[in-house]
Structure formats: C-alpha cells, structure tokens
C-alpha cells in the first residue's frame, strides 16, 4: 500500500480522460453526419475542438494532445481510412500545438486561442493535402480556409468557453 491516494487520483483522472475521448468521438461522428456546406476539403465546424479546449483548460497540455491523438486514431479506425487519418492528424496536431503555446503564454483569452487553433487546423490540413496531392496550387483553398478557420474557431471558442466555465474544476481533479 504505497501511496494509495495517488493511485486513486490517477485512476480518476484516467476515467475523466476516457470520458473526454468518448465525447470527442461522439462529436466526430455527429459532425461526419452533417453534409459539408462549404465545398472545400477539410471545411468542418470542428466540434471536437470543444473537447480539446476543455481538456486543455481543465487538465493541461498533455491530456489535450492525448485526447486529440486518440480521437483521430479511433475515428480513423472506426469510420475512416489511413488517408483521412494523415489528413486530420496534420491539422489536429498543428492546431493543438498552437493552442497549447498560446495558452501557456497566458496572454490570450480562450476564444482567441480557439480562433488561432481553427486557422492552424486548416493550415495543417492544406499542408497535408499539398503533400498528398503533390500540388502547390492550393492557394485559393488556403485563403478560403484561413478565414473560415477564424469563423469556426470563434464559434467553437464560445462553446468551449461555456463548457470550461460550466464544468466544475472538481470534476477533473
């Protein structure tokens, strides 16, 4: 019986983490059922980013990255293909890194962090598309996705802010 308290602590934390991953999966699935309304590859609302923001602000950088990574692999395994995994991995990792850094700087509000996350999510996806499709001619997609990333990032930021504000911290301790 060494450090029983600490063990209980991490088991509880793992359960919270699992809950967030499950929530992210549900959001991913829900979003995949919505027909894309912008005719650009990768144009999505990014509902799962609400969960990543929650993990980032309630649990920290590691769990935020972990939730997103697990979500991407599980979604790829359940409803996607290796190709879609590469694509969402590139966008998801870049946006999560950007959001982690911006949050760490302590100079920005959650919604601004989310706006930057939205933009860099799309930048990452365009970069992956450029490599996979072997084309550099993605300029106009980049312009469209830059601005739609800001808009969806703001929307997700508002939702994420409400989520972080309403969920009690005690739930994640």
């Amino acid at each position: 019986m060494k450090q029983p308290a600490k063990n209980r602590f991490s088991a509880k934390k793992a359960a919270r983490f699992g809950l967030l991953v499950a929530l992210a999966l549900i959001f991913s699935y829900a979003e995949s059922q919505i027909p894309p309304f912008f005719a650009v590859p990768g144009m999505k609302i990014g509902l799962t980013n609400v969960v990543v923001l929650t993990a980032l602000y309630k649990m920290g950088s590691g769990p935020a990255m972990g939730v997103n990574l697990l979500r991407i692999f599980l979604v790829g395994l359940l409803f996607g293909n290796p190709f879609s995994v590469v694509y969402s991995l590139s966008g998801g990792m870049l946006s999560t890194v950007v959001m982690i850094l911006l949050r760490k700087s302590g100079r920005f509000r959650l919604i601004t962090v989310s706006v930057a996350g939205g933009v860099f999510h799309n930048v990452g996806q365009i970069a992956a598309a450029a490599v996979i499709m072997q084309t550099a001619q993605l300029g106009w997609y980049m312009v469209v996705l830059w601005f739609t990333g800001m808009l969806t990032g703001a929307l997700i930021g508002v939702l994420g802010y409400e989520m972080v504000r309403r969920l009690p911290d005690a739930l994640f301790e």
Binding site: P41, R107, A116, Q134, G139, W140, F147
Partner: protein, 122 residues
C-alpha cells in the same frame, strides 16, 4: 485589460495575414486550359474553350469532368464525400478542384494545352 489588447493584436494579425494571402494568392487571370492530375501525374489537358464531358479514372473511383462555357467542373463522382462535385465551376488561372479520396486534381492553367499526351513522343 492588457490581456484584451493582446487578443485584439493576435486576431488583427491573423486577419491581416489572411488579407495579404488573398491579395497574393487569389486567382484573377482567366485561364486557358484545364489540367487533370491523378496521384500527382498529369494525365490530360484540355482547352477551356472546349465543350466536352469525360470520365477521369481516379484512384479507386471515377470523376466526371465537364468543360463548357469557359469553365470546368466535376459533375459526378463516386467518392464518399462528393466535395469535388460541390466545389462547382472554376475558370480562373490557379483555381483547382480536388477530389482527395480519388487523388484527382483538376487545375486551370494559363498555358495553351499541349497536344494530346498519347501523341507526344517521349
């Protein structure tokens, strides 16, 4: 309130960068030809002035290319997302339609189309 100032600064920087990209990258010149690439290889090129309908064999599926009235579009495809079909018409140089699942890119280019690929010597 220092925090708010930094937020405005970052958002302004993002908007500015976006506008800068739009000015630099947004296609404005009318194109002359439609280039078809499958998995990174140019498979066909047609003049934009043509009026035609042709089937592109992509990776794991097809896309139906229609060129008419000086614009190109992918009218039909059996890809799962059909984003390529929803992209609609393109006519400006540098614009492209991408079917990610089939690895098909059609792009408007400025140069006059070269002779049909099967005629060109290697």
């Amino acid at each position: 309130m220092k925090k708010r100032g930094m937020d405005v600064l970052l958002v302004a920087a993002l908007v500015l960068a976006g506008v800068g990209m739009a000015v630099l990258l947004w296609p404005r010149e009318p194109g002359e030809a439609v280039q078809v690439r499958v998995d990174g290889t140019v498979t066909a090129e047609y003049p934009l002035s043509a009026s035609l309908r042709t089937r592109i064999e992509g990776v794991g599926g097809y896309n139906e290319l229609v060129i008419e009235d000086g614009s190109a579009r992918l009218e039909e495809a059996d890809c799962p997302d059909r984003i390529c079909v929803r992209t609609g018409r393109i006519r400006q140089k540098g614009q492209s339609i991408i079917c990610l699942p089939h690895k098909v890119v059609i792009e408007i280019v400025g140069a006059a189309p070269s002779p049909a690929p099967d005629v060109t010597g290697r």
